[in-house]
Symmetry: D3
Subunit: 251 residues, 6 copies
């Protein structure tokens, strides 16, 4: 099985880390293709940055050719709905993946993410997915995304401290790490705190395999129907549904 | 007061219609500037199309120079959160505007929109805004957006029939028209059916005036904080927060 | 445009303050008529006091003659539903007005009101309006309503301290002041705390102008239908729907 | 035990019917005192009528002297919160009583009330009480309240037809009759339809006995705290908390 | 009237205490029959223990012969749904009973139960019953159930301390004691803290009398329909609906 | 990997069918062990039957020895919480599994189950899991469970007709089959109706593999903590936590 794992930001080191986490999580028979768009922000911290990643996600999907499933490796699940319209194969977001898996092993979980500005988008997703009642609290650790790439940073300490607060104050039974860049911390933090700590990348890769192996495809009745054929203008002409794409699906 | 009314799709005739509706609704002292992006889809019908309009909205805001308020004239309120991060002046979506006003004159309202594929996005917005409990039902009239621009189409008949069903079956006390392209139909449909029929463009323009006149600005604490300075890559370099913009804010 | 602003309690000094706040907020073309009933409590602090103000509100509406809109200037929105039945012109409560406007500029807001006994009524309104999910917390500042009229009181200090707690503990992005008597404090408190602080009187006046200017009227289908003609007995005979009113609409 | 059953409207024949239903439902040791205010509407059909009954309810409570519990016999539970502030002894509304009892014998219930204009108030109460999720639907039978007093009317037929629809369409497992004037119909309609049919008057009398017998009183911490002493003006001077009442508690 | 009060655990001393509390709460005309199963756990602390009590509850109901109502005296309301299928006479759980009564005398209540492991089951019940919005918080006092039977234990002190926190931190207006074994503490704790403190056993006995006296039976339409006749295998053959029961309804 | 798939009822033919469906769904490396208790009902149709299966589930788990994960193959997810307390390895219910997977490929789904009496239990689970907002409707096809084992029955026709109604009336984008006995119908019904049709057995097996492969275990903090050591009486002595089990973990 081939799964395209898309890191929606343009930071290659994070794409590498995500790709490695995906490969560790994947079944033996699964090939992980980890990519990131060439256009857009180096990290996604809030609604503004989110707005510039979806065309890149769609372009990477078009370039990649046939895939059995897609994973969007941004915890905000940016572009998830659009990607589901664009593909028949299942598309899984790492945020939703971690939320769903957490509910299978714990009554309530808390999310520990990066900056306060990212909390509302995560809260909106939880209520959109229907899982808000299962999340005790979405907490910011006050760690900028790219600090997770810096060896010297005290990111891990801050995240661990926030997990401790979630267990004590929220009575969280499990912790969801709220950023793809935290993928490498989950195991050690789980050992440290004695509760399950979930990384969305691993959860999403396995859920993508699962949905594909079950022979399920995204429903094309309703909100995820294939885009109507129309001619997009200017920058986006190559994305016009039903044609006009360049050789590689991008300008 | 100057209000920038952005039609996020690229269809100029719809921008004209929206601009006229905005001018009719605006106070005497208000100047309406109606624009649309040069890049993107000719109409927004579902999640895929939505994904290609936000950079254009931000570019139009940058190009327009100082404004007292902004209106996003797509009923899905596409890009609303990103636009609020980008600006200090208030930004109002026509969907949210119509929902809020409807709750001030009716206990429950129903929405009559275009295609079934647009219903889920509207339902998500209603629950995100907190107003889902005030909406009896979101109904599709099965009218493609651009049919609203065609003199000969039976769009009006289909919409009117759906309104009748909403009043009878949903016990709707008011109707919200679910597309900016329906702005010119509200008054006549209200006369015909004897309930308030709301057009989001007019509601949004007046709410934008209201928030601005009250001296209120979008809160910069939390989800709508100004974007962090970072360098966007490729196509989006001109949108990099804190610099790199071309003379007109676009490539 | 003429707007009747009704302070439902009998304290004239508060009516004056509310009238001034309304005039400051109103458009140039708008005439504010600020009144209070001659019958009822000097302040509204809890459910018991609320129960004695609605006939007075209806009487003031009847006495005032033709108006373009009505504002009920009690943060509990006391009598709002009854007033909507009594009038065709829109009726706006200052509580709902502030809640709706707050959601247009912030993801989450907290309310800072007077006494703990008033909190449940406000919480009920939030859930009735559908906006409970947008309110982080309703907080009491332990300030009796009439202390807001006393120069020497430490009301302002207590309110400011509660706002500080709302920002820190609730992550509130905006603050709604939960009493008409706080109308004069909003601007300074916003400066002091660096978040929007909303006064319901100003919000309601502008929303009343907006709904009226949009040519919208309260829906008469459903809960806000005009009262059925019937003969009220005793004290309330003058309020009998369809007749029996004295010259001035009151006993 | 003495229970004051207050019919908030001024129609004596309905008070008699309610009193009889209360006596049938009461325990042997319980004395029912059924009263109605001398001031107010002859029936309560919508928000406007509701607004004129609460002072009368409070006056009847004051006149009646010491009681072990109070029942408010209007299905809208009009004045319930104010009455709880006014008394230490428990106060039960017939609407809430029927809702709570229905949840003890059925998974879901539907309400069959009088006119469509009364539906929103009942829906608001259900969500305020927290029981909205247990109510399948609130249905109007299109029967004016006073038709229930007319031998010749087809009220019973209309109500029975609506019950049949509730069972078939809503999958209602029990029916709550949505008007005190329907108290005499419950038993026969239950026989006819083979599901429990609840009358709020009987439910409320028994719940009032129960709460009183358990030695419980309304909590005076929070929203139901005793009214603060203050001087009401004009018509309502006799209701001033902490004094000014006439011999019989009314003007 | 005869009410069977079933303590679902096998600890006779708790059955005695519950029986006494039930007799104190019951009307003079009511006969309380307090029993416990001979099979199962000595206390119910979490989901695992819960799973072994329902056959015993059904067996006790079968053995007891004709009853006017049944009370399940475990705060988790274990087996309530199954018992309602098994009987026509009403079945009341002590948890639901206390929750419903609390909402009649207070705006919001908090629950103080035994161990943290029992909190999720109580939270699920609250949301299933629809009353989650009326409960401020479910709190664990960290008291094992059987410590409530030990004279020397500091159970009472821990419970009282948790009640104090609920009043201060949750703004709880009433307290529900979350274990049948706390039945004897309610009165003194209410005196101590100045808010109503509810014991579910007393509430359930009175509600059972109420529902029965109203002539109401569990609805047999929908989820509480009588079990379909079928042959259970092995251990449970005696419970086979429609036959196979031993003389006393148990193996 | 070894997964124990427990059919909680005693009908061996259904256990065979479920086992086959599980093997088809499982990864190549996975060994499915399909069992059913020797004690209990031949089918689970409503709350009463549910009450007699949990000890059997726990006994099968004890007998089976070390497993990597457990699947409870009853759509009501009967005994799921107790089983999670009993095991460290993940336990997945087929109902929850199908609900979660459905939300990854569709905006809204409907459930088509067997008898009306089973609908409330499924609705409760949906709200407990947090997914009620994602389910358009739970529908009964009026097919008794064991008819699914009868070649001649018209079960398939009834189920297909109900699916058609769900697509038309509920706007369901996917269908969840609400009984383990329908496992063999999913593929053909999906072909027939052009929407994804999900079988819980397959979904649960893959989710069980996923959670186990991710190295996740049920959280032992909170509701799923291991049972406290105590001596169960009578029939259940062998299930006493911390000892007393017979050689095979059952009486």
């Amino acid at each position: 099985m081939r799964i395209l794992v898309i890191n929606p930001n343009t930071t290659a080191s994070m794409t590498d880390k995500i790709g490695k986490a995906a490969e560790v999580a994947a079944s033996s028979g699964t090939q992980i293709v980890a990519v990131n768009p060439k256009d857009g922000p180096p990290s996604i911290e809030g609604y503004f940055d989110e707005a510039f990643v979806v065309p890149g996600i769609i372009a990477e999907m078009a370039k990649a050719g046939a895939m059995d499933a897609y994973v969007i490796a941004c915890f905000d699940d940016t572009g998830l709905d659009a990607a589901r319209c664009a593909a028949d194969a299942p598309v899984i977001g790492i945020g939703e993946a971690a939320f769903h898996i957490a509910t299978l092993i714990a009554g309530k979980f808390s999310v520990v993410t990066t900056l306060a500005r990212s909390v509302p988008a995560i809260e909106h997703n939880l209520s959109k997915y229907g899982l808000a009642s299962r999340c005790a609290k979405v907490r910011a650790s006050d760690v900028p995304v790219l600090d997770l790439e810096l060896p010297g940073s005290d990111a891990r300490r801050k995240i661990s401290a926030e997990i401790a607060r979630a267990i004590t104050e929220d009575k969280a039974e499990a912790i969801v790490l709220g950023c793809a860049g935290m993928a490498d911390l989950a195991h050690a933090l789980s050992q440290e705190h004695g509760v399950p700590v979930l990384d969305g990348v691993a959860c999403a890769v396995r859920l993508a395999e699962t949905v594909s192996a079950l022979g399920l495809r995204t429903s094309k009745v309703g909100g995820y129907a294939a885009p109507l054929a129309k001619r997009f203008a200017g920058l986006y002409a190559p994305w016009s549904p039903g044609g006009d794409k360049g050789a590689d699906g991008t300008p």
